[in-house]
């Protein structure tokens, strides 16, 4: 940040990261679309020439079902996460300022454990010999023969578990700035508790809600490990198919065609959000959640 802002200084500071990200992020992302139009070669690499066959193969009757499942599972996980985050964020924002930092910390701490460890912890709990399965059988809610693992509900629950803090943090950040007098004013003017909640509080934190939706929905669309570990074939998502085409069949053009589809699905909500709201909210929350520095938001 020199006081005299020289062009040479700017280029010197910009070039390293700019060139790195063009070569190792922008170009590869565009390559996904190009390779989708390439034939596969006999060594599992990328062949010469161009073909539309791979893209046309996406009409395979299996894929629409998987794309549909990816969309609805991500949507359900998003609704549940945001639904749980609103009351949680409300409680956090209404707590005494001295206790808020502790509450934020409590939400962020589970994030400091490895992603794989958290998924495995759930697998162990839902395992036929695991604690939850035994408890449910004991109180007679579940037949001993029913498996809790390898079904879409198990995948959904772990997705909610994994992404819930990503919903709570932005909603809390918005609720923290909310002026509670507005709620009291609404009730003084005769609004019921529910009415003042839906017509005053929710609109007041709408920006946080929009960020939360993005923060959960987009990573859910790209889920791969969670359905892979928790779900069977009945819970496969696009991410699983991309991995199968890459590692099992070694058909990179096919994996690329699927990835191109996923890229479009991911960028669509991003573009909508860029157009409708201010930039940056999602990335900041992401960094803060990962950094574990929720206190920064106070």
């Amino acid at each position: 940040m020199p006081t005299r802002r020289s062009r040479a200084g700017e280029l010197l500071l910009t070039a390293p990261s700019l060139v790195w990200l063009i070569v190792l992020f922008a170009v590869p992302t565009l390559m996904v679309f190009a390779v989708a139009l390439k034939p596969v070669d006999s060594y599992g690499g990328i062949g010469q020439g161009w073909t539309l066959q791979t893209v046309l193969n996406l009409r395979d009757p299996n894929y629409p079902a998987i794309v549909w499942r990816t969309l609805w599972m991500s949507a359900v996980a998003t609704v549940v996460c945001v639904g749980l985050s609103v009351p949680t964020a409300y409680v956090m924002a209404r707590a005494a300022p001295s206790r808020r930092q502790l509450l934020v910390l409590l939400v962020v701490v589970p994030f400091w454990t490895s992603f794989l460890v958290r998924i495995f912890a759930w697998k162990a709990l839902l395992h036929p010999e695991g604690l939850i399965k035994r408890l449910l059988v004991l109180i007679g809610l579940v037949e001993p023969s029913v498996s809790l693992l390898y079904r879409p509900e198990a995948v959904l629950m772990v997705m909610v578990y994994t992404y819930l803090p990503f919903a709570i943090l932005p909603v809390y950040a918005a609720a923290e700035r909310f002026d509670w007098c507005l709620l009291e004013a609404a009730m003084d003017l005769g609004a019921s508790r529910i009415r003042s909640f839906t017509s005053v509080f929710l609109p007041g934190i709408s920006r946080g809600l929009a960020t939360a939706v993005m923060m959960v929905f987009i990573p859910c669309l790209g889920s791969y490990v969670i359905p892979d570990v928790m779900g069977g074939t009945s819970a496969e998502m696009i991410g699983n198919k991309i991995a199968q085409r890459t590692f099992v069949d070694r058909n990179l053009p096919h994996a690329s065609a699927l990835s191109a589809l996923l890229t479009l699905a991911v960028f669509l909500p991003l573009v909508v959000r860029w157009v409708t709201l201010w930039r940056g909210g999602a990335s900041e929350t992401m960094v803060r959640a990962r950094e574990g520095a929720g206190e920064e938001m106070l």
């Binding site: 940040m1 006081t3 802002r5 700017e10 010197l12 500071l13 910009t14 990261s17 700019l18 790195w20 990200l21 063009i22 190792l24 992020f25 590869p28 390559m31 996904v32 990328i46 749980l84 949680t88 409680v91 701490v109 589970p110 400091w112 454990t113 490895s114 992603f115 794989l116 460890v117 912890a121 759930w122 697998k123 162990a124 709990l125 695991g130 604690l131 399965k133 035994r134 578990y161 819930l164 803090p165 009730m187 508790r193 790209g222 791969y224 490990v225 991410g239 991309i242 890459t246 990179l252 690329s256 991003l270 999602a282 990335s283 900041e284 960094v287 990962r290 950094e291 574990g292 520095a293």
Partner: protein, 259 residues
């Protein structure tokens, strides 16, 4: 105004939901039982057996090598990027910002497969080198965002004072800005280190023979291995990350109280 109890009940349930699996996992790592459905007495045997798992220690070594290298490179690139973004408001910086921002929201699967395509197309041999390139690519964005947020708190008049006292812009940056920015740079580097250590999806796509990292090893243990060993290993990891983050928090508190 009377407040509803419902939000408090939900918030409490959310906290239980967030902690239950982790607590059970840690408890089960000391459980003599193999499946952990019931308590069969305190035991350290899973930890003792962990010591014999040579692949785990080999994978840990790979993970640390990659994480240290990725942290150094991405911290340098992320810091220069933040200085450029903060210092200039040109159209180039808007493109630069978009390139830094977008990887933060793109799912790991897409970053992994696209890098694999690049490496295959260029004929690069997959291994620790490609994992390192991939890790630096996603760490740059995080470091930049952390350093950028600290730069926005920075008092620019300090630089003007340095210039008034005869420092050229390079000296002002090296002797005034960088030392004051150090805690932010360290925080960014620490974040990069933890992200690199934790990454599974991207590493899995660009790994080759012999370049198993710890998360890749844990994944194959989850798919095929023995659950109690993973409990013990996970507990060790939890202890290490919690202490690292705790130290980082203490450092940043110190810095805050100094101001």
């Amino acid at each position: 105004m009377k407040r509803s109890v419902l939000p408090y009940v939900i918030a409490a349930a959310v906290l239980v939901f967030l902690y239950l699996p982790i607590v059970i996992l840690v408890a089960n790592s000391f459980n003599a039982s193999r499946f952990g459905g019931s308590w069969e007495g305190f035991s350290l045997r899973w930890y003792l057996r962990l010591r014999e798992q040579r692949e785990i220690w080999y994978a840990l070594r790979n993970t640390l090598v990659v994480a240290f290298a990725a942290t150094i490179i991405s911290t340098v690139l992320g810091t220069t990027a933040a200085l450029a973004l903060h210092g200039w408001g040109t159209r180039l910086q808007r493109v630069h910002y978009a390139l830094i921002y977008t990887p933060l929201v793109v799912p790991d699967v897409l970053i992994g497969i696209s890098l694999l395509l690049l490496f295959v197309a260029l004929g690069v041999r997959l291994g620790l080198g490609t994992i390192l390139l991939a890790h630096v690519s996603f760490c740059i964005s995080y470091v930049t965002m952390v350093v950028l947020s600290r730069l926005q708190d920075f008092d620019a008049s300090l630089l003007e004072a340095a210039r008034d006292l005869g420092a050229n812009s390079w000296q002002a940056m090296r002797l005034v800005l960088l030392p004051l920015l150090m805690p932010g740079i360290a925080a960014g580097g620490l974040l990069a280190f933890t992200l690199s250590i934790d990454d599974f999806v991207i590493s899995f796509f660009v790994s080759g023979p012999g370049s198993t990292t710890l998360p890749i090893r844990i994944y194959s243990m989850i798919k095929h291995g023995s659950p109690p060993l993973i409990n013990a290993l996970s507990t060790l990891l939890i202890v290490v990350t919690f202490s690292a983050v705790w130290v980082a928090q203490m450092l940043s508190k110190e810095r805050r109280s100094e101001r």
